[in-house]
């Protein structure tokens, strides 16, 4: 199952000792494509495996990750038609059936492979700082009408030094994904089948060029990982880390970007091209403004008209004068009427 996670901007991906992230070769863990050195067949290897047997020629093979950046790609397995259907179904669902395919005009649908930097390895290090414990203390103090209870927050700091070792898995987008609707998306690589990225593929597929350099990605990763190892609520004063078996690689993930027009606005939807689920979508919002005015204005009008009909234009004139004085500029009466009616009864999408 593929996952692109929506999370707070600036918060990279999963880390910590999630057993599924430990790198242990469990079934269903991510796999990587490789070529048998004996017969040239295509094989798959689980992350962390050092040796494997070719299922075609039975040769025993040793696998190593050489130093340097590797590049992987996940092939799209969802067709354009399926992506379009998923987006339109999502739209109908989010708008309660009010906006369907026939209400929209699809402008653009394209498949693009989006790069992420991923860093994994074993983090070992030391962190020193202060653990902050906050307590609410109630004390009784004399007051003008006898005693009263006052709450005060007390802070206690206790220094700590801890040594940590944990498997980490961190990722960040390698280019600006704002327009793709993927800001703050992180990549979970487990249970996915990655293939070696061949730049020759770029003749036939669209890829987004990584703009963030490897050095910048590494720095950002280490900066995040240092905060990860600290106890929550603590102040870190100093730390030192080593990342063992560091693997910094680029992963290309497939997404469909669909743009459609509804009314006079353009909306975009991003669909995961590995499993077809909608990652993010802008949908036309129903403007709820004016629903109370829809009842209050007719009720007041009916009351005034029922009491004495000329009260209605008198009240309208008073409201007009009030609006003009508040705006500080003259407004033509017909424009004012349209604006007021629009503010009261201008619902819809």
């Amino acid at each position: 199952m593929a996952e692109l996670l929506q999370q707070e901007p600036g918060t990279p991906a999963v880390a910590a000792d999630d057993p599924h992230q430990s790198g242990e070769a469990v079934s269903g863990a991510e796999t990587y494509g490789m070529t048998c050195a004996a017969c040239g067949a295509s094989l798959r290897i689980h992350e962390g495996e050092r040796s494997v047997r070719c299922q075609y020629c039975n040769a025993a093979l040793y696998v190593a990750a050489p130093a340097g950046v590797r590049t992987w790609i996940l092939r799209a397995s969802v067709s354009e038609g399926a992506a379009r259907l998923a987006a339109l179904h999502h739209l109908a669902e989010k708008t309660g059936g009010a906006v369907k395919a026939r209400h929209t005009s699809i402008l653009d649908l394209r498949l693009i492979y989006v790069p992420f930097w991923r860093m994994s390895g074993r983090l070992a290090g030391r962190i020193s700082g202060d653990e902050v414990i906050r307590r609410v203390v109630e004390t009784t103090v004399p007051g003008p009408d006898g005693t009263r209870v006052v709450k005060r927050t007390e802070e206690e700091r206790s220094p700590f030094t801890k040594y940590v070792c944990k498997r980490i898995d961190w990722s960040t987008p390698a280019c600006a994904l704002r327009y793709l609707g993927l800001q703050g998306i992180a990549l979970r690589t487990r249970m996915l089948a990655w293939d070696v990225f061949d730049h020759g593929m770029r003749e036939t597929i669209h890829t987004a060029l990584p703009m963030k350099t490897a050095e910048r990605a590494r720095e950002d990763g280490y900066r995040y990982l240092a905060t990860l190892a600290a106890p929550s609520g603590s102040i870190v004063r100093s730390s030192r880390f080593d990342l063992l078996g560091e693997d910094l690689s680029i992963y290309y993930f497939p997404v469909y970007i669909l743009r459609y027009r509804h009314g006079d606005r353009i909306y975009s939807t991003t669909i995961d091209a590995s499993d077809g689920h909608v990652i993010r979508a802008d949908v036309p919002e129903r403007r709820e403004r004016g629903s109370r005015a829809l009842f209050i204005v007719p009720a007041v009008t009916a009351f005034l008209a029922g009491t004495w009909l000329p009260l209605v234009p008198i009240a309208a004139a008073a409201l007009y004068i009030y609006d003009v004085v508040r705006a500080g500029a003259p407004v033509m009466p017909h424009r004012w009427i349209v604006a007021r009616l629009g503010a009261w009864f201008g619902g819809g999408r």
């Binding site: 050092r50 030192r240 080593d242």
Partner: protein, 283 residues
């Protein structure tokens, strides 16, 4: 022949001595040639010779069901350690005096965690924190000299100080430090013989170079709190080793949900142990 692409490096898994095919072992970094009995360990993109020993079981009848867990054993260069600590402490004391003489105004601001980090990471050089910045109150927190001297003397009196780094696979990595610290504290006698690989053995998944880095943190975690929390000293101390690390299989006996070390005399939960050595069916 090896295949090299933008991805992984793949080569035939062969004994570098006799050419026989080595067994496929999943995540294990050590391979034993069935033909010539030589041992090979993963070392980056290639295989290099390695020696694997097995700890002799202490006197008494050997229990039936023994599980061997691999540890890297690194011997600290004690004379060098003492000399390095002495140099660093002199330097820090000198800096402390200079800061006191300058009568600097204490900085009461909360330290920004990011600027406080002394990251020393592979490929990136960052000066350690400590002496080069102003700390509220005392300029640099140093351990009491008497306590530090006593600690160093205690280590030196032992003659040999070994750090034990668990090399077996584990679902949680923190066990590498906790079990390593436990074993290091116990200071088991090291009587070994070359391992024949017989019986149940957990696969080693940590390479020698990685073990030496982990050994450093395990070693520091055995220090008394007053010394181990002194970042200014710890971050500057580059631990040197007297020899190449040894890979040693230690005997453990399962007891219900735990395994007991026959040489260390401690228990660890059985769930902390990952895969055992056998040719993996998936390959």
């Amino acid at each position: 022949m090896s295949m090299k692409t933008d991805g992984l490096t793949v080569q035939r898994l062969q004994c570098q001595h006799c050419g026989a095919e080595l067994p496929v072992m999943g995540r294990s970094i050590v391979f034993r040639c069935a033909a010539c009995r030589r041992l090979w360990a993963a070392s980056g993109e290639h295989l290099g010779p390695v020696r694997v020993d097995r700890a002799v079981i202490p006197s008494g009848p050997a229990p039936g069901d023994i599980l061997h867990l691999p540890f890297w054993v690194a011997e600290i260069d004690l004379p060098r350690l003492e000399s390095d600590v002495s140099k660093i402490m002199n330097s820090l004391r000198h800096t402390q005096v200079r800061l006191a003489e300058a009568a600097l105004v204490p900085d009461d601001r909360e330290p920004d965690p990011l600027t406080e980090l002394g990251l020393n990471l592979i490929g990136i050089e960052t000066p350690p924190s400590g002496a080069q910045r102003i700390v509220p109150g005392a300029a640099i927190a140093l351990p009491p000299s008497a306590e530090l001297d006593f600690f160093l003397r205690t280590i030196a009196d032992q003659g040999i100080f070994r750090v034990f780094v668990p090399a077996f696979d584990s679902p949680g990595e923190q066990v590498r430090l906790s079990v390593g610290r436990l074993m290091t504290h116990r200071r088991p006698e090291l009587r070994t013989a070359p391992s024949d690989g017989a019986g149940r053995t957990a696969v080693p998944v940590i390479q020698a170079a990685e073990a030496l880095i982990l050994a450093r943190y395990i070693f520091f975690s055995t220090f008394p709190a007053s010394i181990g929390s002194c970042a200014a000293l710890i971050d500057r101390l580059e631990v040197q080793y007297a020899a190449e690390p040894l890979l040693v299989e230690f005997p453990f006996v399962p007891h219900g949900g735990e395994v007991e070390s026959l040489v260390g005399g401690f228990h660890i939960p059985a769930r902390t142990i990952g895969a055992l050595a056998e040719e993996t069916a998936s390959s």
